[in-house]
């Protein structure tokens, strides 16, 4: 299935995700295995509450796994110092920065934190990376605006610029298209596609825009109860992976058009 010729940056075997509640382990999903190659865009889909965010949090080291192995750049995630991990994986979260007073320039510049000295001073290289990140996301003209003045679409692009400034081979985004209209959803996903192709980044994003993700992703992860599929979108359609995504008495998947329709 997965060609092993390309360099795999993130490899997951038999991962079990979930959380500890008191003494019981609540398992959300298990038997998750995949290999992600450099320069690919991967969409993660699944119904609400299935564990998409938990999977992303586990992959980025914010939450402990309940079993299985995660290897980033050939080394287990458990053996990384948090600062070294921050140089390999950056994130774009659903939450806006908690300080509303932050300017776009300051927000993006904070992405350089893992690379700066104890005081966080920016070198010439840092400034160049920041400037480049702003250019790639088309946010240069927003640089002196405050974050609270931005529209949802602008804020999402700025958050992606911050992750780019962090300069990591892997970028993980948690639902980057929520609250956006169709046009801005397309803009964001096309931007992610461009970054994967031109910068050789491995970009993993969770989304509810299944039809858009099918059109743009190189590979997709489909989380359904008791199963985890990972393949390219066309194979997943012919396998019927999307049909079991939602209860079939309410929503049907049309393999021809790659769209969901509501059943009368």
């Amino acid at each position: 299935m997965t060609s092993s010729s390309a360099h795999s940056i993130l490899e997951v075997t038999n991962l079990v995700i979930g959380y500890q509640q008191k003494k019981d382990a609540i398992i959300l999903s298990d038997g998750i295995s995949f290999k992600l190659n450099a320069g690919s865009l991967i969409g993660l889909v699944g119904a609400n509450g299935i564990g998409k965010s938990t999977l992303l949090r586990t992959l980025t080291g914010m939450q402990a796994s309940l079993g299985g192995a995660i290897e980033i750049d050939g080394k287990s995630i458990l053996n990384y110092e948090s600062l070294d991990l921050a140089k390999l994986v950056s994130v774009v979260l659903t939450e806006a920065p908690s300080s509303k007073n932050l300017s776009v320039g300051e927000f993006v510049a904070l992405g350089r934190q893992p690379h700066t000295n104890w005081l966080g001073q920016l070198s010439e290289i840092d400034l160049e990376k920041i400037s480049n990140a702003l250019f790639l996301t088309d946010t240069k003209k927003l640089v002196s605006r405050k974050c609270f003045e931005l529209s949802d679409g602008q804020l999402q692009r700025v958050a992606i610029a911050r992750a780019l400034a962090q300069d990591t081979p892997v970028i993980v985004l948690d639902e980057p298209t929520t609250h956006l209209d169709l046009y801005h959803r397309a803009i964001i996903l096309k931007l992610l596609k461009k970054l994967a192709k031109e910068m050789g980044k491995t970009i993993l994003f969770s989304t509810h825009e299944i039809d858009l993700a099918i059109q743009l992703s190189d590979r997709m992860m489909v989380m359904i109860p008791n199963a985890f599929h990972f393949d390219d979108p066309c194979t997943l359609i012919s396998n019927g992976a999307f049909t079991s995504l939602f209860p079939e008495d309410t929503i049907l998947f049309d393999g021809q058009t790659g769209r969901f329709t509501i059943k009368d």
Binding site: V91, P97, S99, L102, L110, P114, L119, L127
Partner: protein
Amino acid sequence: MILKNTHRNTFLLLSFGTMAMFLLNLSLGSVNIPLKELGTILFGGQSTHSSWDYIVLNYRLPKALTAIMVGSGLGVSGLIMQTLFRNPLAGPFVLGLSSGASLGVALLILGAGSFGGFFGTLLMSQWSLVIASALGSFLVLLAVLAVALRVKDTMAILIIGLMFGSVTSAVVAVLSYFSNAEKLQQYVFWSFGSLGNQSWQGVFILFLCVVLGLLIGLFAIKSLNALLLGENYAKSMGINIKRTTFMLIVATSLLAGSITAFAGPIAFIGLAIPHIARQWISSSDHRILLPSVVLMGAIVMLLCDTVAQVPFSEYTLPINAITSLIGAPVVIWLLIRKKKLLF
């Protein structure tokens, strides 16, 4: 690029302002000492009146230095708390740290009487005041943090602060009922707040605590900036949240605790100074904010003290009243102007 704009002029202006306020504070009071004579005294010479030498060196200089440390320390502890709790209303007074310190001191002053004799005198040394008050504020901050970890609602944290305030006044009321008039008066005067009557030894102890607190703050600047994005983003950029939180708590309780011990509970400085700094320099970067808050805190506190000692008169007003009279309208003005308080 926009990120490179320096704030050199701001710092020059603030440093100059601090120097000017410092000299003004030394010169004005019940007796006015001309600036020229003041210079002579400060540089080790003899002025025309020997009483002036005494007033400046043993009364006004320690008081002015205390004012600087109180303003800077409370401002920085407010700044750190606003970032740590992601709440623009956080500050040593609002979050109940001052109440905790008051409780510690109340237990010491009003409770020490019951020990009596030699032990009672031992308890009343300046160090024990500092320890009781720092311990009180540290415990309150721990409690607030424990709540903050369980309840994500920032309003809950403020309510906890208010509750600690009520508990403190209740305990103080109970203690006052059982203690004698002399002890009670001692406590009431402490709670008015006072920058004066500090021995040089006291100033030195305060200096050590404040410098240590500021140093920890200085080393936490990078983490504080990361926390502006929220805990999850900070974690994703390699910040150790647990260690950072612990460091910041130690710094704030050291600052607020020691200052409250020496100068009494002083309201509004910790809340208002960081907001004034943010408004004025229009940046959230703690590399710029922290030193600005240090200087602005010093300026405002020197100003408050100059007002409190009522130039040309014999009177000295309680410093706590002055900071509230100046601080509360400033916070209201900031709210009305910006429609909301940002941090």
